[in-house]
């Protein structure tokens, strides 16, 4: 007999186990169990990576529409000219090395009865469990006059890539004394402090290069993440609250909600009036990525899950993590997507092994820059509630950086933020 292949090896193992009187139900059940992961952002990449790390015997396939990925994290630094877009590019060789089968194709359907995933390229993949990390889509039609095409003139720059570069170019071309209008979306949306970090970094760029220019934030909300920290920094660096503040924030209650745009006139129509921008950055309202909606996972726009396992409440055998999921009270962040991916990977493995699922605390930490040396954070620890209804935030832990800290504290957080970027990229994509 030749050296046994993997399959007969495992069968023999099961026989050996029976002989030895040890119970190994998951090995006996199937030779190789298959997990298909959809989406290669921080959620999907981390899930695939950690499935292999936790259970090397699994057959893990990651299907991602694009050959490489640009992280949204640190993309506001590209917008502000502090970093090149190339520095945000990641490929999938690291995951391949870790034993993940990586497929570049667009998933067009999930058949939860047959347990198969179909792609645009005509491929079909069987699974024992499926993890969906499809990110977000924009509700282009929520704002009259806006569309995917209009985003070529009024970029959202809220999926990193060509949109990020486009916004950067527009800001570079803008004359000094111009106005940058940023339209911030209603909740829930990815990276809750993201629009305000962007406004800050653009104001910092203006201050250094085009000091007569202004930033106007038109907001569909009356409050935002890390607001006190942003306002403290804006007051210090940009004269916020004074007559000639570089940054103006118009909350919903003052008419900041934008309902319509005039793309040719570079004008947005808010309840408070018409705002003409030399550069307009419109971040539209959001929903779960299309495949989550098409597969019946996201009836109300986002995928409802059991917080203990991340299994869909609508479609058994399919787990949803990251931005596409309702993981309340966790925010939609890259760190949250990564933590959820690891917890979901562990849960999937235990379900496949027929073991009870344990729960572990999940971490989120999210940094926001005002300028290259001034940064602050929010951190939280989350645990699934016993009924799996929510990921409850520990009230005795977490929180934001304190107000009124010295520059050394803000500088340390800037260094830790960049360090975080290097670590999370390697940890997710290998």
């Amino acid at each position: 007999m030749l050296a046994p292949d993997r399959r007969s090896f495992l069968k023999l193992t099961a026989a050996g186990v029976a002989a030895a009187g040890v119970s190994m139900p998951w090995v006996a059940r199937a030779a190789t169990q298959r997990v298909v992961v959809i989406g290669g952002g921080p959620g999907g990449a981390t899930a695939a990576h950690y499935l292999k790390r936790f259970a090397p015997e699994l057959d893990v396939t990651l299907i991602e529409a694009n050959a490489n990925y640009h992280t949204c994290f640190m993309s506001n630094e590209v917008v502000a000219g502090l970093r090149k877009l190339d520095e945000l590019a990641v490929g999938f060789d690291g995951l391949k090395k870790a034993g993940v089968t990586v497929v570049t194709d667009l998933v067009t359907g999930i058949d939860a009865t047959a347990k198969t995933v179909a792609t645009k390229g005509g491929q079909s993949f069987g699974y024992d469990r499926c993890i969906v990390a499809a990110g977000i889509d924009f509700k282009f039609d929520a704002i009259a006059g806006y569309s995917a095409e209009a985003a070529e003139a009024m970029p959202h720059a809220y999926k990193a890539g060509p949109q990020t570069t486009l916004l950067r170019r527009q800001l570079e071309a803008m004359p000094d004394g111009g106005t940058f209008v940023l339209v911030a979306p209603p909740n829930p949306f990815r990276c809750p402090p993201g629009p305000y970090e962007r406004a800050s970094l653009v104001a910092d760029y203006f201050k250094r290069n085009k000091p007569k220019s202004k930033v106007v934030i038109l907001d569909a909300k009356d409050a935002f993440s890390k607001q006190k920290l942003f306002e403290e920094a804006w007051t210090r660096f940009f004269g916020y609250g004074t007559a000639d503040s570089m940054i103006t924030w118009v909350p919903a209650k003052q008419g900041g909600t934008v309902k319509e745009v005039d793309v040719a006139g570079r004008t947005v129509v808010a309840e408070a009036g018409r705002f003409k921008g030399d550069v307009v950055n419109l971040i539209p309202p959001q929903m779960a990525g299309r495949i989550a909606r098409d597969a019946g996972l996201a009836e109300k726009g986002w995928a409802a899950i059991d917080a203990r396992t991340f299994e869909s409440k609508a479609v058994p055998g399919v787990h949803v993590i990251g931005d596409a999921a309702v993981a309340t009270a966790m925010p939609k962040s890259g760190y949250a997507a990564s933590s959820q991916a690891k917890a979901a990977a562990a849960a999937v493995i235990q379900l496949l092994r027929g073991q009870p699922v344990f729960s572990v605390p999940l971490i989120n930490t999210c940094y926001s820059f005002i300028n290259k040396d001034y940064c602050f954070s929010i951190a939280g620890i989350y645990e699934p509630s016993p009924d799996g209804a929510t990921l409850a935030e520990r009230t005795d832990a977490g929180g934001t950086s304190p107000l009124a800290k010295d520059d050394d504290y803000r500088l340390r957080e800037a260094r830790y933020a960049h360090s975080w970027f290097d670590n999370i990229v390697k940890d997710s994509w290998g």
């Binding site: 007999m1 936790f54 760190y335 562990a346 493995i349 235990q350 605390p361 954070s377 050394d408 360090s419």
Partner: protein
């Protein structure tokens, strides 16, 4: 070629191949792995940081890890996010994390901005003032942190906290710090830290 194996040895090989010895141990291993995994976002996969500021936490002695977490929980050790994060872990979880990371190798991926002009002087000063406690070029960590290959930025923050009286020092360390500052001035720490950060 035929290979003759008994079922039992075959089983042992299979169990070794997947790295466990019993059903329960496998579940327990996974539980600890999953508990520790979110730390990697900032501290790197398996606790070896490839970022330039967050410290590597692999290979730290359990006591050192537990004490650090206790310091963060009680706000007695200077921190940015760790004061907020440590409070989310109870003593049992902290101890499991300490044991988990202590068993991982302290990786030294390099990539730090080392000033090679400082290395000789740094080594000389380290031999005189530091190596009694930070033995084996700072690789050993008997009751102290690992310095060899630790992140320069993190060590600079730590030293500045020690010197500013924000972070507690034991008697021995305090005496050495004072002696070094008296003999060579505080900037001499920079030479020492570049030397330790550069140890492979």
């Amino acid at each position: 070629m035929s290979t003759q194996r008994t079922p039992v040895s075959f089983l042992a090989a299979a169990l070794l191949a997947v790295g466990w010895t019993s059903h329960a141990a496998l579940a327990a291993d996974l539980a600890v792995e999953a508990l520790a995994a979110p730390c990697a976002g900032c501290h790197g996969t398996d606790g070896t940081s490839v970022g330039l500021a967050a410290p590597t936490i692999a290979g730290l002695p359990k006591d050192y890890f537990n004490e650090a977490m206790f310091g963060y929980k009680t706000d007695t050790k200077p921190a940015t996010v760790m004061g907020r994060i440590a409070k989310g872990y109870d003593d049992k979880q902290t101890e499991a994390l300490a044991a988990h990371f202590a068993a991982k190798p302290f990786g030294r991926p390099g990539g730090q901005a080392i000033d090679s002009a400082r290395l000789a002087k740094g080594r000389e000063l380290a031999d005189k003032y530091c190596q009694k406690c930070h033995e084996n070029e700072g690789r050993d960590a008997d009751g102290v942190g690992v310095l060899a290959g630790q992140k320069l930025t993190y060590m600079q923050f730590s030293v500045s906290d020690f010197l500013a009286g924000k972070r507690e020092m034991d008697k021995r360390q305090k005496a050495r710090f004072e002696e070094l500052v008296k003999d060579h001035g505080a900037p001499a720490f920079t030479d020492i830290l570049h030397y330790y950060a550069n140890v492979k």
